[in-house]
Amino acid sequence: MTAPSQLTLEGLLPQLEVVRKDFPILERSVAGGLPLVYLDSANTSQKPQCVIDAMVDHLERHNANIARAMHTLGAEATEAFEGGRDKVAAFLGAPSRDEVIFTKNASEALNLVASTLAFRGPRQVGEGDEVVITEMEHHSNIVPWQMLTERTGATLRWFGLTDDGRLDLSDIDELITERTKVVSFTWVSNMLGTINPVAELTRRAHEVGAIVVVDASQAAPQLPIDLQAMAPEERPDAVVFTGHKVVGPTGIGVLWGSRALLEELPPFLGGGEMIETVRMERSTYAPIPHKFEAGTPPIAEAVGLGAAVDYLRDLGLDDVRRHEHALTAYALDGLATVPGLTVLGPLDAEGRGGAISFEIDGVHPHDVAQVLDARGIAVRAGHHCAKPAHARFGVQSSTRMSSYLYTTPAEIDALVEGLHYTRSYFKLD
C-alpha cells in the first residue's frame, strides 16, 4: 500500500484516501512488492467496489434476459438494465432517456453513426459530400469516416493542429461549407489532452446544416456534461463515450443521439430486440432506443455502468474535474524538471484534460515505460491510437501518463522520480 501522501494540493478530492479505498486494485502490489502507481487511466479506468458488487449481485440474484422475459427474474433484469439507461441519461443530462443507445464500446457507437449514414435515408452521404474530422482524433474516430467516405465517394477533410497541440481553426471557413454533411471531433484529446471548443464548432457546423458527432470518450470521465443545458444550436447531434473509462465495465459503450437524428438514421445491426415485426419477406423496426440494440444487450454491463455513473455523480463531476486539474498542473510542473523532456500538447493545465504525452530525448517510450514498470508505475507507451497526431509532431510514439480521481500527488512524485531514474539508467546524465 502507498503511504498516505504527505502532500496535499488545492483542488484535490476531499477524502482522497477514503476514495482510494473504494478501488480494490489500488491495494495491489506489483514488480515484486512495490505499490501499484496506476497512471494509465486514459487507457482504461479502475473500478470501484460498488460497480463490481452491482454486477455480481445482478449475476448471482437477478440474471435473466430482458424485455422478452415476463417472469420475476426477467422483470427484475429488465428494470435493472433500463435503470442503467436512466442513470446514463441523467449523467449526460439527456433530453430523453430513449436517446441513450447502448453499444459495445465508443468505437461501435462511432461506427454505428458512420455506417448508417451510408445507407439510404434522409441523411445519406454521397459523392460531392464532405465529412470533416481533425488530426487529433483517436483511430476510432478516423477509420469509420475513412470507410464511410471510401464507400460512398464522399470526401474526408480535417482540421490540422497548431504547434501547441490545439485545433488549427484558421481555415474553418474553407473546411466547414455547404458540402459538409458531418463534423466529428473529440471533446478531449486522449493524446494531447487538449479540450476542444464543442459549442463553437457545433454552431458553425449547424449553420451549414451538418450533423455534429462528438467523441466524449475522454471528456465523460472528467468533465460535467449537461446536454439539456446546451443551447440547441450548440448541442451536438450525437455524443459517444465508453463504459470502461468512466469506472464502468468493458463490453459497453454509449451513443447519445438527438431523437431527430436517431429517427432519421436507418437501423445498423438487425436481429432480436430491434424489430417491430418480422416476416420472411420484410421486417419493420422498433422505435428508439431498441431500433439500434440488436440482440441481447450487455445487461450486467449496463447495471455496472449505471453504478459507475452514479458513483461519479456522487463524487461530483465538478470536483473530479478540479481534482484532475490540480494533478495535471502539478504533473506539468514535475515533468518540467526532467531534462530533455518535451510535452506534446498544451502546456498550461487550463483548458486541458488529464492525459499528458511526452518524449524524452535519447530514450524510447517503450524503454521509459519498461523502467517505470519495474518501479510499479504503469504508464502507456506507443501511439495511443493516435498515429496521425504523432505524425503531426514528427514523432512515432510517446509516453503518456494519465491520472484520474484516485490519483495522488505522491504518485505524480513517483513518476517524476522514476523519469529521472530512467535517464540515469540509460546513462543520459
Binding site: 422478452r68 415476463m70 426477467g74 422483470a75 429488465t78 428494470e79 424489430i275 417491430e276 415485426t277 431498441h290
Partner: protein, 148 residues
C-alpha cells in the same frame, strides 16, 4: 386476494371470454395496427368520430387475456363519449397503469376498467393492458386530422 387473483379478476376474465364490440366495422376515418414487439400481441383498430363524439370503435385483436379484455373495456368506456371526455378517460387509465400499484382507481370514470388496478403491479403486463388504448388514441387523433 393474492397478486395473481388481483391480476385476473372475474371482470377481466369475463371480458376476455366475451369481448364487447369486437370485429372490424364501417364507417371509420382511421385504422391503425399496433404491435407489442416484445411479445407479439397485435391489434387492428378503427375509429369513427362523428360530431365530436366517438361514434364507434371496432377492433381485431390477438393477444393475452389482459390485452383482449382491455380492448373490450376500452370500447365500453369511450364509445358514445365526446372525444375530449374520452381522452380524459384515456389519461385516467394511463395514470392507473403507470402507477406501479400506488394509484387508487376511480370507479366513476373507469367503471369495469378498475379491474385493471392489479395489472399495474406487473410491469411486464402493463404494455398488454395499454396496447389497444394506445392504438385508440393514435386512431382518434388521425380521425380528427382526417376530418379537418
Amino acid at each position: 386476494m393474492n397478486d395473481l387473483d388481483a391480476l385476473y379478476q372475474e371482470i377481466i376474465l369475463d371480458h376476455y371470454k366475451n369481448p364487447h364490440h369486437a370485429g372490424l366495422r364501417d364507417p371509420f376515418e382511421a385504422e391503425v395496427h399496433h404491435v407489442n414487439p416484445t411479445c407479439g400481441d397485435e391489434v387492428t383498430l378503427r375509429v369513427h368520430v362523428a360530431d365530436g363524439t366517438v361514434a364507434d370503435v371496432s377492433y381485431d385483436a390477438v393477444g393475452c387475456s389482459i390485452s383482449q379484455a382491455s380492448a373490450s373495456v376500452l370500447t365500453d368506456l369511450v364509445i358514445g363519449k365526446p372525444v375530449e371526455e374520452a381522452m380524459a378517460v384515456h389519461e385516467t387509465f394511463l395514470a392507473l397503469m403507470q402507477g406501479k400499484g400506488q394509484v387508487e382507481p376511480d370507479e366513476d370514470v373507469l367503471e369495469d376498467g378498475i379491474a385493471f388496478a392489479g395489472v399495474a403491479k406487473f410491469p411486464a403486463r402493463v404494455k398488454c393492458a395499454l396496447l389497444s388504448w394506445m392504438a385508440w388514441k393514435d386512431a382518434t387523433t388521425q380521425s380528427l386530422e382526417a376530418q379537418s
